[in-house]
């Protein structure tokens, strides 16, 4: 059995049993999983984790599951020392957490692995989600692994590459004829109507917990210490808050020293409600209409924005927004220096990191981790104008003539 004991309201603290539920009945605020940390502390140790599987499930005791887990091989992705990129940016101890290397090429496998495990525990035979890409593929893949029905709702204008990347797992792929807001409203209503496990609605508190494994891995891979600074992409803000929670839990369990990590979140300027609120000194995040190529982080009304703001402030971190052009430049820089092809959200992280270093907020000697949460191969269309080739005749002479190479 796991150590989760209740769902607790993040605003008013009311507790609820561990069931498919995402909102507090009283104040309609989000719920999160609460644990019996005292018992958990007796069950975990650095040595025990080290002997666990080479996946996110080496941290099973820190996750809210009670049964056999649904795992397609997620996690324990590389933490790469990025000397080339560090040199370009002026950082001596820069690391990249490369979460492109998950089974469906994004960090979403972490959250979905937990959510689908819980869906099975709750007795759902059908899971569903609304997504613009990464989540859709991950839900479809995990459902396929355990023979569950999967309904995946996407906007009808989704890129063909992403549709194929989801359809291959054979879910019921529903393209909704309408705007992004229409998909949102439809799924809100369906969640109230059908007894399904909606990954990002009624399973959300469990789903969220999967993100903590990114923090656990980074700490373990750094020799059981927390970084000085992290830069994380923010959509709903959930990942950002859970990386913080993950580090905090490790300290609470005595596995690392008290955490003094400066948490920086990054957004695309075309959809930066959390950064706007941070810059304005506001405690409330006001919704915006997204307009950016970084679609995987284009959430106009972030569910965890308020909490993400708090983490950025409490940790002595910050928030930074970059333009689409800067994001593409960030993608190219990461690929050219470290050989990692990230999606636009990764470009946002690298571009934000560059700004944070240039402005002196992140210092040269600080141990810094940039989180790259999704691979670029799914969204190649945003890079169509970087392809420059020179066509030659199939003769050595032609090659030497065009490229000026001599024997």
């Amino acid at each position: 059995m796991g150590y989760a004991i209740a769902l607790r309201c993040r605003k008013c603290g009311r507790e609820y049993p561990l069931e498919p539920r995402n909102l507090c009945d009283f104040c309609l605020s989000p719920l999160e999983v609460n644990y019996d940390y005292k018992s958990m502390a007796k069950a975990v140790s650095r040595e025990k984790f080290a002997g666990g599987p080479q996946s996110m499930w080496r941290y099973r005791e820190l996750l809210p599951v009670d049964s056999e887990v649904v795992d397609i091989g997620t996690g324990f992705t590389p933490l790469v020392k990025a000397d080339n990129l560090g040199q370009k940016l002026g950082l001596e101890r820069l690391y990249i957490k490369n979460d492109c290397l998950n089974p469906t090429y994004s960090f979403k496998d972490r959250v979905v692995s937990v959510a689908i495990t819980k869906a099975r525990e709750f007795g759902f035979d059908t899971v569903a989600c609304a997504s613009t890409g990464n989540l859709a593929a991950s839900v479809a893949a995990h459902a396929a692994k355990v023979n569950m029905n999967a309904y995946v709702f996407v906007p009808s204008n989704m890129e063909p590459g992403k549709l194929a990347g989801t359809a291959i797992y054979n879910p019921v792929l529903v393209t909704v004829d309408g705007s992004y807001d229409d998909v949102n409203r439809l799924c809100g209503k369906l969640a109230a109507r059908y007894n399904w496990g909606f990954i990002n609605i009624n399973l959300r508190p469990y789903y969220a917990e999967g993100s903590k494994t990114l923090a656990y891995e980074v700490a373990e891979q750094s020799g059981w210490c927390a970084p000085d600074c992290v830069v994380v992409p923010a959509a709903s803000g959930l990942l950002f808050t859970r990386i913080w929670k993950g580090l905090d839990e490790l300290a609470m369990l005595g596995l690392i020293e008290p955490v003094n990590t400066h948490m920086y979140l990054s957004q695309a300027a075309g959809c930066s409600p959390i950064v706007n609120a941070f810059a304005a000194g506001s405690i409330h995040v006001h919704p915006v209409e997204p307009d950016t190529i970084a679609k995987s982080i284009a959430i106009g009304n972030p569910a965890d924005g308020y909490y993400a703001l708090r983490v950025a402030r409490q940790s002595g971190g910050g928030a930074s927004a970059v333009t689409d052009e800067e994001a593409v430049a960030g993608m190219r820089l990461l690929a050219e220096t470290e050989g990692i092809f990230a999606e636009a959200a990764g470009g946002v992280v690298i571009a934000a990191l560059k700004k944070l270093v240039a402005s002196g907020l992140i210092k040269k000697s600080e141990l810094t981790v940039a989180f790259i949460t999704g691979a670029g191969s799914k969204t190649q269309e945003i890079l169509s104008d970087i392809v420059q080739t020179s066509t030659i005749k199939p003769t050595p002479e032609s090659f030497e003539e065009v490229f000026g190479v001599s024997v």
């Binding site: 909102l23 104040c27 997504s131 990464n134 989540l135 969640a191 959430i299 009304n301 972030p302 569910a303």
Partner: protein, 80 residues
């Protein structure tokens, strides 16, 4: 009867209008405010609506037509 939890975000020019009062009067929808923050230039209200499905739908459509942004309370549901 159904219940729907929503978040209204008001632009500055609508802060003084009694939108929630009018919603309940015109559409037979019971409005129950749970959280809110209103300043001089912006405001949001998290509330539960209770009524017949069609009344809630029509009521929300009217609120949107007035220029208020209406979202599910957990924020955007569609994830990347």
């Amino acid at each position: 009867m159904v219940k729907r939890q929503v978040m209204f975000t008001f632009p500055q020019e609508l802060i003084k209008e009694p939108i929630i009062y009018n919603l309940s009067q015109q559409f037979t929808v019971v409005t129950n405010i749970r959280r809110a923050d209103i300043s001089e230039d912006k405001g949001w209200v998290v509330l539960e609506l209770e009524g017949e499905e069609k009344d809630i739908e029509q009521g929300i459509a009217w609120v949107i037509s007035k220029g208020v942004r209406v979202d599910p309370v957990i924020g955007d549901i569609v994830e990347g």
